[in-house]
Symmetry: C2
Subunit: 273 residues, 2 copies
DNA sequence: TGGCTGACTTTGTCTGACAAACTATGCCTC
DNA sequence: GAGGCATAGTTTGTCAGACAAAGTCAGCCA
């Protein structure tokens, strides 16, 4: 009868690793209210004794939580539970892009679903402070037409404030994940803004409509901007494809690209991997 | 002029930790094409030499990536790069719920934005296999009205197939994150399904409309289901609030056990987290 | 041929130690 | 008395070496 359900609930019988146990234990401490955002965890040696594991194992578990952005260690100070909306998750998203499991065009499809709705929410809910911050970001963009790096930083700030203005933490987290992942792969997004001034004008229009509480207008403006950016992306992808098919065979040699490795990793040589 | 941009680009000058370096190094290996999904990483001792770090530090870095679901270690076998859509990220989402940084109602607002659009996409793109799998999940639900655990497992399976049918990896990842997080906090979602049969009927209707390629109908059906579930959630939240306000004062002693609180966890048995 | 044993590989965990970063206290100088 | 500096103490970061556990695989024997 319930064969389908059986198959689903069958867990892999692998014994739980200490790392997982540490994470679950700390989770339960949060659930019980003993730990909350900002709390300091007991020192590592003490915590290791409490949990009955060695310090190294404990640290591996903590590192996992750090990667997720859920805790933050300050040397000589302590380890704290951190308020983090999408900090760690964006790294996850970035990897999906790296591994080509997620395509840029797919992200734009997602954005076209999410962001117009977010714009409508922002038009209804944005506080004066939100509007001020978005305005500041817009001004920052305007004064940096000639400096791509800084222009992009301001644009990212605008988008983050935009997400925050919708007054929904789940949405804010999702958007931050996407934006952070996109910003990291800036190679791909930077050339898309052929004309900073035109890009800036579209953003300014979005802000103006939000400030006027014009939900429908803001929704349309965001969708327009995304459509425009998507068109550029499509062109860029096609150009790159042509480039690859032409140059692909020539540059078959392994990545000899000089990359500045951090000092501590100088001995790195992974050719045999 | 560009003070705003300056403030944004100012990084915290904290020296990079080995863990971060390890992660970046492996990232660059993926970027250069030396590693891809399914690749086996070199053994830990060897990799440690390559990166010029000790095995313990390397392991901490790897654990971080494991938590994100990006690599998977098999004892006695090796460590592999894993294809993971939202496996690690869902844990992140769950924590946000735990820490009360994200509220359940906010997730429902997000779902009401996302899922109707996804339903429309699924109606256009679902393959026969997708429809079969959703059908199987629906059947599984039907035969488990009396077994809540298994019913929920089947419902989760239905939603995952639903997300997959939209044929967009970014969307699939987002949905899996949400569903996994909601499923973990099942305390909250289980009682919401007052009547399994009614819940099942709504799901069946969604599937039928997707199978008929009725995008608009599927969109409406999903929105209806979400509205219904949200109503139940609102009632449940209100009931819980009443309960808290009655029982809350009695054990209102969070600050008294401030620093020494974890002390009672000494020798805590890990297995019962 | 088939199954079992043993060596080998690889990850999991533990112990102990020292370095680095930050805090806080107390001393010394002005 | 006030302020700067040095020192001790706390806490995380990193390293080294060792053994256990788990899985693979070749080779031996019935």
């Amino acid at each position: 009868m319930s064969a389908f359900a059986e198959r689903l609930t069958t867990q892999s019988a692998r014994s739980e690793t200490v790392m997982e146990a540490v994470a679950r234990r700390i989770e339960s401490l949060i659930r019980s209210g003993e730990l909350r955002v900002g709390s300091r965890l007991p020192p590592e040696p003490q915590l290791a004794v409490m949990l009955g594991v060695s310090r190294s194992s404990l640290r591996e578990g903590l590192k996992g939580l750090m990667f997720l952005g859920l805790i933050k260690a300050r040397p000589g100070h302590g380890t704290y539970i951190q308020s983090s909306l999408g900090r760690g998750a964006s790294r996850h998203f970035k990897w999906m892009l790296l591994l080509r499991e997620v395509k840029y065009l797919e992200i734009y499809e997602l954005r076209k679903i999410l962001e117009p709705a977010v714009a409508a929410l922002a038009a209804r809910r944005a506080s004066p402070e939100d509007l001020e911050k978005m305005e500041a970001a817009i001004l920052g963009m305007k004064s940096n037409f000639a400096r791509p790096e800084q222009y992009m930083a301001c644009e990212l700030a605008f988008h983050e404030e935009f997400g925050r203005a919708a007054k929904n933490a789940a949405i804010e987290m999702m958007l931050r994940m996407m934006y952070a992942a996109l910003a990291e792969g800036r190679r791909r997004t930077l050339p898309l803004i052929a004309d900073f001034e035109s890009n800036w004008r579209r953003h300014q229009r979005i802000l103006r409509l939000i400030a006027r509480r014009d939900a429908a207008g803001a929704r349309r403006a965001v969708l327009d901007d995304l459509r425009y950016a998507e068109t550029l992306l499509r062109k860029d992808l096609k150009a790159q494809e042509n480039f690859r098919s032409k140059v692909g065979e020539i540059q078959l040699e392994p990545s000899k690209t000089k990359r500045k490795a951090p000092a501590k990793l100088q001995r790195a040589d992974l050719k045999q991997g």
